[in-house]
Amino acid sequence: MKLTRRQLLKNGLLVGAAPLAMGAAWTSQAGVADAPAQGEISLYGADRSATELGLGLRQKGLTPRYEGRLDPLSLNALPSGTLATGFTDEAGLVLLTSLLAGRGRILALGRHAADADQLVSHRGPLAGPLVAEGSSWQAALGREYGRLALTGRAGRHARQFRRPADATGTASELSFLIRL
């Protein structure tokens, strides 16, 4: 993952430090940007999957803000409390989870193959398979993530769901739902 200087400057790890005066980079960013509006969620990914995910989120009353391809370091610039979701690759997931330690919450993670979904929720039990009449699995995932984002439940739950093979492709995808 190559980072431009601009991308690096955007992340909270790059806040200039003076001897004896360096505050927590994350903390220093919090509250600087505008707080997220009620129901807003940052949505990452650059293809049809992200679009469909956004559709499902809207059906649950959330307002997705399309951010394009995920640069995990850019999450540091978002205000505390921001909800974020989307798709990324293996490298992005490693970076994302690593950066959230002590800085945010992982509400749910998903691994999606052509005919199965493996989901982990930290917001209580998961609903059934990601299938619905006339809807894509990504939109169903959006509805499920929307529900988990809004629930007050806690506890880790993991399940694997089978579903009819996705005719649009076989590439595996990784999804996430986090709160900063």
């Binding site: 190559k2 989870t97 330690a101």
Partner: protein
């Protein structure tokens, strides 16, 4: 599957843990004591072939000051709470930010991130453990200091203190990080604070310039160990040289590794080439930016035919040597002639620099950045090579002799091949040693493949040890096994020190195989 039941530290009653948590909240404030499942989830992400259920913390603590760390360990002693310390938590592939075992409380030091001092005259820094390389890099740039850092590959997000404590390496002439460490502040298990080296002298001006202090030198006791919690560390920084000359040498034959090392060794020992040179195999060089399935769909080891296609398509050698010269232009001119002569003698090497090296495939651009201490995250691309989230660094040491390198390469390839994994590897050349770093990449979502990766890693450890090769560092799943290869007398010394310094065994139990 549900794991919503409460995780407690081993042997600690719920009431005692609640009392300890209440005390931690008094010390740190409620927001700095994490117990919710979704807050702890990032501390459960592992990439090694262990069981997820074995690496779940019971809580995480986020101190901002040494005094808080002192109070935390006093509380842990009172309630016999085990804590697992991380600095920035970026020890990816070696245990990441997860505890050593389920139930331990994470002591996450990333909020202790003050740059306490940078002295551009003697080229030193004094840092807290949460300072990242990027943070220090920016400080140096913003203050227009002519100093270079030596980051490891996950540069921007990792930290110099944690990496040095785990005896990590980088790619400049300051690549052996612990060699360039000078002075520590350590919180001991009893809550006392000790400063090593010259730090015990009140108002000492030489804490960051003279390592040895007086009496036994003890800094090494706090690296790869669980004898104390380092809250400050001094480092030596490299002065920016007047000129810098990165270059790439490619060899195409798998057998060439022997020649490369034997040519390199005298150049490294005499400091003609002063930096921590890397000799990168095809699959590592390609794996940072291409995926395996582009060339091979099978689940066994990638075949030679596919490796040859990668070499041809990507412009990558079988072995790719990334090195650099530093100094005045005049020094570099003289040393470059020596390098060209040495590597050119056999006629096998393709020696490149500047635009020609840039145009070749592989990693010249990001390697050039790393060899001058600049930041990038290119090597995260390796996690996309095979996919599935499994990665373990197998890192045996050898002499810098071609015969040993050839032996290690063949042994590693044989064992990895037996288990169906790829040889994704590089050698980092120290002054006289080689760190042979192999990324065992596997699909962690497949239980059978994960078990296979586990068995493969265990066999690598044992078979390398039988030939006299030990690991310089390993992940938390295999610390016990690796400690065993170094022999019982050494382990007994480690245990004796542990009993003396941490009689309740509260600090990172199991780190490097050390526990009561």
């Amino acid at each position: 599957m549900s794991t919503s039941e409460r995780i407690l530290p081993k042997g600690v009653a719920a009431a005692d843990f609640d009392a300890a948590l209440a005390r931690f909240r008094e010390i740190l404030g409620a927001d700095s004591v994490l117990t919710d499942s979704d807050q702890l989830a990032p501390y459960t992400k592992i990439m090694m072939a262990g069981d997820d259920d074995d690496y779940i913390p019971s809580a995480a603590l986020l101190p901002t000051a040494t005094e808080q760390v002192q109070e935390i360990v006093r509380t842990c002693n009172q309630y016999k709470i085990p804590i697992w310390t991380i600095s920035t938590g970026k020890n990816l592939g070696y245990g990441s930010a997860a505890p050593g075992e389920t139930g331990q409380v994470m002591l996450d030091m990333h909020r202790m991130n003050r740059i306490l001092d940078v002295d551009p005259e003697v080229c030193t820094a004094l840092l807290e453990p949460g300072v990242t390389y990027q943070q220090l890099y920016d400080y140096i740039k913003e203050n227009d200091l002519k100093l270079w850092l030596d980051p490891p590959a996950p540069s921007a997000i990792a930290g110099p203190v944690g990496n040095t404590l785990d005896r990590g390496v980088g790619y400049t002439p300051y690549g052996e990080h612990f060699m360039f460490q000078c002075g520590m502040e350590v919180v001991l298990a009893n809550g006392e604070v000790v400063r090593t080296g010259m730090g015990g002298i009140e108002n000492s001006s030489s804490w960051q310039v003279f390592k040895w202090g007086y009496g036994p030198y003890i800094d090494g006791l706090f690296t790869q160990s669980n004898y104390g919690i380092v809250t400050k560390m001094g480092l030596w920084l490299m002065p920016e040289p007047p000129a810098y000359w990165p270059f790439l040498i490619q060899y195409q034959d798998p057998e060439d590794i022997e020649e490369i090392v034997d040519v390199l060794r005298p150049l490294r020992i005499s400091q003609i080439i002063p930096n921590a040179v890397v000799i990168v195999h095809t699959l590592w060089d390609a794996g940072t930016h291409v995926t395996r399935k582009t060339y091979y769909e099978g689940t066994d080891s990638i075949p030679r035919e596919a490796i040859e296609r990668i070499k041809a398509d990507e412009g990558i050698g079988e072995w790719n040597v990334y090195a650099a010269l530093y100094g005045t232009p005049e020094q570099i001119e003289v040393n470059w002639k020596i390098v060209e002569q040495a590597f050119g003698a056999s006629g096998k090497a393709k020696i490149m620099y500047g635009e020609e090296a840039e145009k070749r495939g592989g990693g010249f651009s990001y390697r050039s950045a790393l060899m001058k201490g600049d930041m990038n995250l290119q090597e995260f691309g390796l996690y996309n090579w095979r996919g599935g989230g499994g990665s373990m660094w197998f890192a045996p040491v050898s002499q810098a002799k071609g015969s040993e390198t050839k032996d290690q390469t063949a042994l590693a390839q044989r064992i990895l091949g037996k288990y169906g994994f790829d040889y994704v590897a590089e050698y980092i050349v120290g002054w006289r040693d080689m760190h042979h770093v192999i990324d065992l990449l596997y699909n962690r979502q497949d239980p059978e493949e994960t078990q296979r990766a586990h068995d493969c890693f265990a066999e690598l450890i044992d078979e390398f040890a039988k030939r006299g090769y030990g690991l310089y560092r390993t992940n938390t799943e295999f610390m016990e096994q690796v400690a065993g290869t170094f022999g019982e007398p050494l382990r007994e010394v480690h245990r004796t020190l542990k009993k003396a310094l941490d009689p309740n065994g509260i600090l990172s139990p199991g780190k490097s195989g050390i526990r009561l």
